[in-house]
């Protein structure tokens, strides 16, 4: 165990900070995001994720943002447990009618100023689930959406890019 920890400590970071040859785009993005996060906030940005009917594919990739490779926390962006501590609601899914109320309540509980990000094709336009009796469709039919991140599911790099865009454009609020 200690040997292993020692190895992880001395083995250098696994995070793709430097220009990792496999993913130069990610490294570039990471640099930009870091700058934007500092300029815009000088503090941390807290995200509350709300699954409003996702297939859970989007959640898997949002989870990946927390792994040491994407390591979202290094930008001061972190996921929080309560909407009361959140600046951003990150919403997935085609908003099922059974989740509508809980979603609106989460939004109500989030203090101003707040941003809503619709994550994934389902949240952006209802995806394949439009038109049934069970789904409302796009998140913006229920809440004002500040940013749409398409993809099914969006890749972690696309999620990072989306959060960067949010930081860069939300200065005015």
């Amino acid at each position: 165990m200690f040997k292993h920890i020692l190895k992880s400590l001395t083995g250098g970071p696994v995070t793709e900070a430097g220009p990792a040859p496999a993913d130069p785009a990610l490294a570039e993005l990471a640099g930009k995001l870091e700058k934007a996060a500092k300029a815009r906030l000088g503090r941390s940005l807290s995200i509350r994720e709300v699954d409003a009917g996702s297939c859970n594919g989007c959640e898997l990739e949002i989870h990946a943002l927390n792994n040491p490779i994407y390591d979202l926390e290094r930008f001061g962006i972190r996921f929080v447990a309560s909407p009361r501590h959140a600046d951003v609601l990150l919403v997935t899914g085609p908003v099922t009618r059974n989740m509508r109320e809980a979603l609106v309540r989460s939004w109500d509980a989030t203090p101003d100023p707040k941003w809503v990000v619709a994550c994934g094709d389902c949240a952006v336009d209802g995806g394949l689930f439009r038109g049934g009796y069970a789904c409302i469709g796009p998140v913006n039919e229920v809440l004002p959406v500040d940013l749409h991140i398409p993809g099914c599911p969006p890749r972690p790099a696309e999620l990072l890019a989306g959060l960067l865009a949010l930081l860069e454009t939300s200065d005015t609020r």
Partner: protein
């Protein structure tokens, strides 16, 4: 004695009439009397209920005789919209019956629990998939939870939105001090109406919906849908497609198990393991992306074959991945095994008895950690697994620790499977110029409606998918039954007598799908 009769003999004797164009297992249309006799038969323990689903004027159930492995579908016409409930003899039927009621308006007579399940009075319609959908109830009351009486008991409602990046569902704990006396689940929040959306869709469109039943099992659900369609239409897919499908299925299994092992340890306050496992998981997803163009391999398994083939360097890339996993995974297993504070949390926590697992027909790590060793890759079995070497690990302790170990052993087995497949993949790769066609055959609809069923092992357990393909090639009915249906109820049992604070750990060790269950 009936209980010792093979399934088909029994069904014939109690008046079941075989139906044409149903594959690969037979379907018997039952009389009401025969259905009642079947219920009496199910009281014995020789049978597993594999699924139960509705149609506007019919109810279906799938059964397996566990000794012989014989499988059959039975159906009963219910012109009045009523049928005798299976739940008094098979508790696992109850939630499926409640779902059939909410969607199709079928009433299960003498059911053990008639409360609504998926219908939360929010759809603006009742019985949406029945012949005559109804207006919503004018004054819907609140959902009635089971009443609990006793001194010193208090209730803790949690959800539907939970702390963390988790799917939504409601849990109501009744506790005596710190100890959980009862957990009651309420699900259905992510009901998207998948079965209704599939109805009338061309096969290819329905396949895209199947791929989104539960994102973490997208390959397995796509495979289950494809195999059910192929069984209905009697389609043989090219061998290379069969092997590519297994490759994707095993990559999916490894990725999910790695994620789960890390997440379980994290909930036992050992974040180090999550960080390590999530890196391994990421390596698997990147390999999947490089090989098939999508990290989760969504929409890559399609009826008739596959929609993506390995690039030329695919096999080498996969063998590299396996080598990396073989190097990095075992030391982490050693750490798990040797960390007393971890074992302290996982050993003896959230125990599920073998009898209960059998009664509910629960599979996957939940079943295999409690002594039920069924794995659809072996029983009933499907290609190419008959041609591959692997073991199905089984433990009997039934606690969180056992569920972790089943996943550890399955990661090892799946790595070996990926290696075998990468080395022995039949057929020609696509080639640099992409001239070799994809291993995919066209589907031709039958003369009339045809029905098919499949059983496929996802990382979570056995998926059952049943379809009826109409003569015009559209999907008349599809019922995908996620393994979670038979595991969620056991979570209620597992937490009983444990402390409330251990619930996240227990829940993670099950990792049931909300989306797959709610549909």
């Amino acid at each position: 004695m009936y209980g010792e009769q093979p399934l088909f003999g029994l069904l014939n004797r109690i008046g079941g009439a075989p139906v044409a164009d149903h594959g690969p297992w037979p379907r018997y249309r039952m009389t009401r009397d025969g259905w009642l006799q079947l219920i009496a038969e199910l009281e014995g323990s020789a049978w597993s209920l594999l699924g139960l689903w509705g149609e506007p004027k019919e109810v279906y159930a799938a059964l397996r005789e566990d000794m012989s492995g014989d499988i059959a579908v039975v159906s009963l016409d219910c012109p009045q919209g009523r049928y005798p409930s299976l739940s008094p003899v098979r508790p696992s039927a109850n939630r499926l019956e409640r779902a059939a009621h909410d969607l199709y308006g079928l009433t299960a007579e003498r059911t053990t629990d008639p409360r609504p399940w998926l219908d939360h009075d929010a759809w603006g319609v009742r019985r949406p998939l029945s012949d005559r959908p109804g207006a919503p109830s004018p004054n819907p009351g609140p959902y009635t939870f089971l009443s609990v009486e006793g001194e010193g008991l208090h209730q803790i409602p949690v959800g539907p939105v939970h702390a963390g990046i988790i799917e939504p569902g409601h849990f109501r704990f009744t506790a005596n001090g710190e100890t959980v006396v009862r957990l009651e689940e309420r699900l259905g929040y992510v009901h998207r109406g998948v079965e209704g959306l599939m109805r009338g869709k061309p096969i290819a469109e329905a396949a895209r919906l199947a791929a989104r039943i539960s994102g973490d099992s997208t390959v397995a659900h796509s495979l289950a849908f494809a195999r059910a369609v192929e069984a209905a239409l009697d389609v043989r897919v090219p061998p290379r497609a069969v092997w590519l499908r297994a490759l994707m299925a095993e990559l999916e299994r490894v990725a999910n198990h790695l994620g789960d092992i890390g997440a379980i340890c994290n909930d036992a306050a050992f974040a180090f393991m999550l960080a390590e496992m999530s890196q391994l998981r990421e390596a698997v997803l990147r390999a999947a992306d490089l090989c098939f163009g999508h990290r989760l391999m969504m929409d890559r398994v399609v009826p008739g074959g596959v929609a993506a083939d390995l690039p030329e360097r695919g096999p080498a890339l996969l063998l590299d991945l396996c080598a990396e996993l073989r190097r990095r995974f075992p030391p982490l297993v050693t750490i798990y095994d040797g960390k007393a504070s971890l074992q302290d949390r996982t050993v003896g926590t959230g125990v599920v008895a073998t009898g209960l697992v059998s009664r509910f027909g629960a599979g996957g790590p939940v079943g295999r950690a409690s002594g039920r060793g069924l794995d659809a890759r072996r029983n009933p079995g499907y290609a190419p697994y008959d041609d591959l070497e692997f073991e199905v690990p089984v433990l009997t302790e039934g606690d969180v620790n056992a569920r972790v170990w089943i996943r550890i052993r399955e990661v090892e087995q799946s790595i070996a499977l990926i290696e075998q497949i990468a080395k022995r993949m039949p057929g020609l790769p696509r080639g640099l110029d992409g001239t070799t066609p994809l291993p995919l055959v066209p589907l031709a609809a039958g003369q009339g409606a045809r029905e098919g069923m499949s059983l496929v092992e996802s990382f979570r357990g056995e998926i059952l998918t049943w379809v009826r393909i109409e003569a015009d090639g559209t999907v008349g009915r599809c019922h995908p039954r996620d393994p979670s249906w038979f595991q969620w109820p056991l979570l209620e049992a597992a937490i009983e007598g444990n402390i409330v604070a251990d619930f996240p750990l227990c829940n993670k060790s099950f990792n049931c799908s909300y989306a797959g269950h709610d549909l």
